[in-house]
């Protein structure tokens, strides 16, 4: 006789953020078609209440590992950290969108509804062990992003970017699913942890190897690792900048969480397939990403190529998982991800506070002489560019240090060498921007850029937090943060 498993209170604690977001999304959708509550103000109230309630709920997810719905939902440190990070990014992006010229079209019933729904898909993605749930969460997040990309500002550029992102994103999902299907056929389980446990006995089978390889390719596509990066520059350039900031950060958080769950236990058993593939992706991403960023004139496109290069550095740390001592690489990946998210959000916040409706595709030349006109913005951008380039005393330096340290501990000398060369190339275009801001005379009159508003803005608040945290993570906090990541790393490595 079949009986339903008992639903405990800890299940509700774990599922609460997702449930809140889905409920909020439905409310926003209904508001959009209602007579009295469709105004921007009332949609904003719903969106903010939902996101804050979800953040509070995510903060109290139980830290001890438990699984619900046959692995469809996990509690634990990684799930809590991932959910909290994604929700915090979503809240920051909403703050910035509020003051951006696309804000009015973002806070419409259907757009806000899709946004909240896709965030719930991301939360499912970071706290699931089941292939079915993972796939549905991934598609919920991806389809939501395709729609938002082309719909918030429906112009030629964004529609073209959306359809390109749609085609390549769907192909990536299909490839990932093909890999999942072969792994399921070989192991007979839909659980990620079950697959990780079953792989050692069947690792030499041809179809298993193909499945493992395709899974990695699918994840590589979503992480925008070269040669699967073609969608990223187009999507990043064409999207409204707030959505670009959201995409560039949250997608990496959710995909790396899944990658950690899969790779931390299984990378050494499948290293004959995964290690060379990941090595190629890491090297190509660091080299091609940095070189292509060098020749860009569009600011957002340059940041897109730089984010591809940063995915490459994280792939270096994934390569370091090939040995049995996985604690250090896992912590390095998480720390690097944290710095990347902070600095990306900050850099895009700078871009957003300079954009106007007339000039929403800033070039690097547009920033010439910015220090005279907007000294604080120029200073924050300098901190972010230093951090991206890996210069002390910023978080980016410590992040690169941990990644290269993890790789050196595993004797990946060649990879570290290429990484350092890539960093040196990247310094050229990051510092070129700083030089432009401080030394060059304005090429175009500043009329195209948004003048300083004078008062307190939420975008400036996000910026200030990002700057301060970037500097703190580069000076006094890294030891503390790495201590706190030990629990998460041991939890991930145990599985």
């Amino acid at each position: 006789m079949f009986s339903f498993p008992e639903i405990t209170s800890s299940f509700y604690y774990t599922a609460a953020p997702v449930l809140i977001l889905v409920a909020g999304s439905m409310v926003a959708l209904l508001q959009g078609v209602s007579q009295g509550f469709a105004s921007r103000r009332s949609i904003e109230v719903t969106a903010w209440l939902t996101i804050f309630a979800a953040i509070v709920a995510a903060a109290v997810i139980p830290g001890e590992q438990a699984e619900f719905l046959a692995g469809g939902l996990l509690s634990g440190n990684l799930a809590r950290t991932g959910q909290f990070a994604i929700l915090a990014i979503a809240a920051c992006v909403m703050m910035m969108m509020r003051e951006h010229h696309t804000g009015a079209s973002f806070f419409r019933g259907e757009v806000a509804s899709i946004f909240l729904m896709l965030v719930s898909g991301m939360l499912v993605m970071v706290s699931s062990d089941d292939l079915v749930t993972l796939f549905v969460g991934l598609e919920l997040a991806s389809i939501g992003l395709y729609v938002i990309l082309g719909y918030v500002q429906p112009n030629r550029r964004s529609q073209e970017g959306a359809i390109k992102y749609f085609i390549l994103g769907s192909v990536a999902a299909a490839i990932l699913l093909f890999g999942f299907a072969l792994l399921y056929a070989a192991t007979g389980t839909m659980r990620l942890s079950g697959i990780v446990a079953a792989l050692p006995s069947i690792a030499n089978h041809g179809w298993v190897r193909l499945g493992a390889l395709l899974t990695l390719v699918g994840l590589g596509f979503k992480l925008a690792l070269v040669p699967f990066h073609m969608w990223a520059p187009d999507a990043y350039e064409s999207a409204p900048t707030g959505i670009t900031a959201f995409m560039a950060t949250t997608v990496k958080v959710m995909i790396l969480t899944v990658a950690l769950r899969l790779f931390s236990g299984a990378f050494s058993t499948m290293s004959e397939v995964w290690y060379p593939a990941m090595l190629i992706l890491a090297v190509l991403s660091m080299v091609v990403g940095n070189i292509m960023a060098l020749v860009q004139t569009n600011l957002k496109r340059m940041l897109a190529y730089s984010s591809i290069a940063h995915s490459g550095y994280m792939a270096v740390a994934i390569c370091a998982l090939s040995t049995t001592a996985t604690g250090l690489p896992i912590r390095a990946i998480l720390f690097y991800l944290l710095t990347y998210v902070l600095v990306s959000l900050g850099a895009f916040a700078v871009v957003m506070s300079l954009e106007t409706a007339e000039n929403d595709q800033l070039t690097i030349d547009d920033l010439s002489g910015l220090a005279k006109k907007r000294p604080w913005l120029a200073l924050s951008m300098t901190v972010f560019m230093f951090s991206f380039g890996g210069m002390p005393p910023t978080a980016g330096f410590i992040g690169k240090f941990f990644v290269f340290n993890a790789a050196l501990t595993n004797h990946l000398y060649g990879l570290v060498f290429i990484g350092i060369i890539g960093s040196a190339i990247s310094l050229f275009y990051y510092l070129r921007l700083v030089v432009r801001m401080y030394m060059a005379e304005p090429v175009a009159p500043f009329g195209a850029l948004k003048p300083a508003s004078g008062g307190f803005t939420l975008t400036a608040a996000v910026l200030a937090i990002a700057v301060v945290t970037t500097v703190l993570l580069g000076t006094i906090l890294p030891g503390e943060v790495m201590e706190r990541l030990v629990d998460t790393a041991t939890e991930v490595a145990r599985k």
């Binding site: 292939l131 598609e139 085609i167 093909f178 007979g188 179809w207």
Partner: protein, 100 residues
Amino acid sequence: MIPVENYFILSSLVFLCGLAGVMFRRNLIMVLMSIELMLNAVNIIFVAASRHLAQVDGQIMVLFVITVAACEAAVGLAMVIALYRRYGTVNTEFLRLLRG
């Protein structure tokens, strides 16, 4: 009895047809259909494996994949219609604003 590997080979071939369609067709409707073909190729593996292992898990997954594929098709077609209204064609050669 047909060995389960044969289904994997069939599925791989169908999947490659879909991938080739996405890469080489210039008509967006054909590209969308090729994406559907890829997802349905994966369904063959899930059903075959599920039958081979005497489990229902794979078949349940197929239901989800079909649903998700329908959602993707809906969003994709909506985008194609938006592009058709703007350009008067569904050929991918018109998508050349974003370069480099």
